[in-house]
Subunit: 152 residues, 4 copies
């Protein structure tokens, strides 16, 4: 099957977190229960921030804010199974003034299993109003990503 040009490819990601599928993450069909792909996304975002040398949640909360997910989108192409090694790619796709978006894709070897996006708003811990992204976060992301994220 020819590759669909609109689907994310491994080469588009500079960061991957690898994990092995756990028995507890499967459903009766013997495949990963769909909401657990969102858990994988969450784990991979943590590791992406660590790779950036940005400590979550400390480096946000020190600035009086925290990142809140406002939107998640997930496309299911194929299923991961018990004990398989999978690689979760994370890429900062957009950096706005008070919000940002990650693009994520899960691969088994070269095969794309799941892809999607997560949009976060940086909001004040006090009044939940959007706040400017912490400057160190923006700087570190810009330095980390080879393909620069969209701005604005």
């Amino acid at each position: 099957m020819a590759e669909r040009p609109d689907l994310p490819r491994r080469a588009g990601f500079g960061f991957f977190h690898s994990l092995r599928v756990r028995w507890s993450e499967l459903d009766p069909q013997g495949i990963v229960f769909n909401p657990n792909y969102m858990v994988y996304f969450d784990i991979a975002v943590t590791e992406y921030l660590r790779a950036l040398d940005f400590v979550y949640p400390r480096d946000f909360t020190e600035a009086g804010s925290d990142m809140f997910a406002v939107h998640a989108s997930v496309n299911f192409c194929a299923s991961a199974r018990y004990d398989e090694h999978i690689d979760v790619g994370v890429r900062a796709a957009r950096l706005g003034r008070t919000s940002f978006a990650f693009e994520l894709a899960i691969f088994r070897g070269e095969e794309l299993l799941v892809h999607g996006s997560l949009v976060y708003v940086n909001a004040s811990l006090e009044n939940r109003k959007p706040q400017l992204l912490p400057e160190p976060f923006v700087r570190k992301v810009m330095a980390f990503e080879k393909l620069p994220p969209e701005r604005g």
Copy 2:
């Protein structure tokens, strides 16, 4: 705050499944961990099918197929907390030839917490190729929904 006209309202749903937030579903912020809203969607879809008198998975697998989620989209507006009662609204928004879409929204009283959509394909259990939706499924959905789903 004026209501945004593009957001789902309670009155738009003819079916709700109510549940109480469990301790096990919370995160360290004391709010429901985001992927668990997808678990709530999953539970509510099961109950919607039951309300239709459509037994999942039996009534699909008897026809040699099963429904596979291909896309999920979730918007997080506000958070549910420990022990709260929430209502998950489900509506068949689109019935195609081999696929269909549910619109979902989670309310705490009148307040919208989370909304999104799930798209499923009905696929052969043998070769995973898309199959026509089972006729009883289409018939029962059309009879159940007051606001008829989009066709095609």
Copy 3:
């Protein structure tokens, strides 16, 4: 098969919480993943405290302490399956000075599926040292249980 006299029986419990097995709680064998029985225990303890008119965690933390599980024991006799209704029985089996124990058993109709116990210590929120059980807790449990819990 004759009933083993050492196993808990439905009639031994004055309190039950009923729930329906969720798809997300199953494993690839199509049965409830074992750790989820401990989640069911947790949910049922919450409901037991509610039935006592004891609000967890407020009524503990107001007294400057909280209940911490120190021991759990679970015996697996038979498995619950998708969509089944099960009843989780809870009984205060022992009330000590600073600790207490619940006996729990999960039934599908009359059939015993799982049984076990949870031991909690009431400890200071400040220094984690054991504290006397809140007097209202002891009083309400003693009033609630027909078969009085062991003391000491």
Copy 4:
């Protein structure tokens, strides 16, 4: 504090599986939700079997049987927190004719957090009757453990 002689010590385990605590595994107190220690036990048993070069479930099911947990016991001494590395020790403590027991303990560095045991019965896939443990399993366990498990 002097070490209690009855508690498991790191040196008593020849096998450890290390993992990092996930956000999704925490509760609102910011500590691992208790049933998730049983999930950690489950993961570590899988890895123990892999270290034995025993492929679960294949090497059981090929013999027409599978291992079923019949008893779990867990003691909670201290709590693991977000992002911490923990080591789950597994030791075959007893090998009977048709059943066996693992002793497990979770450490953060030298500190004991949780310990317990899991008892399994090897049962026929056909009629659920206990079956002799597969000979290769017994042989591999005996070769692997320096402190030989109890027999019988």
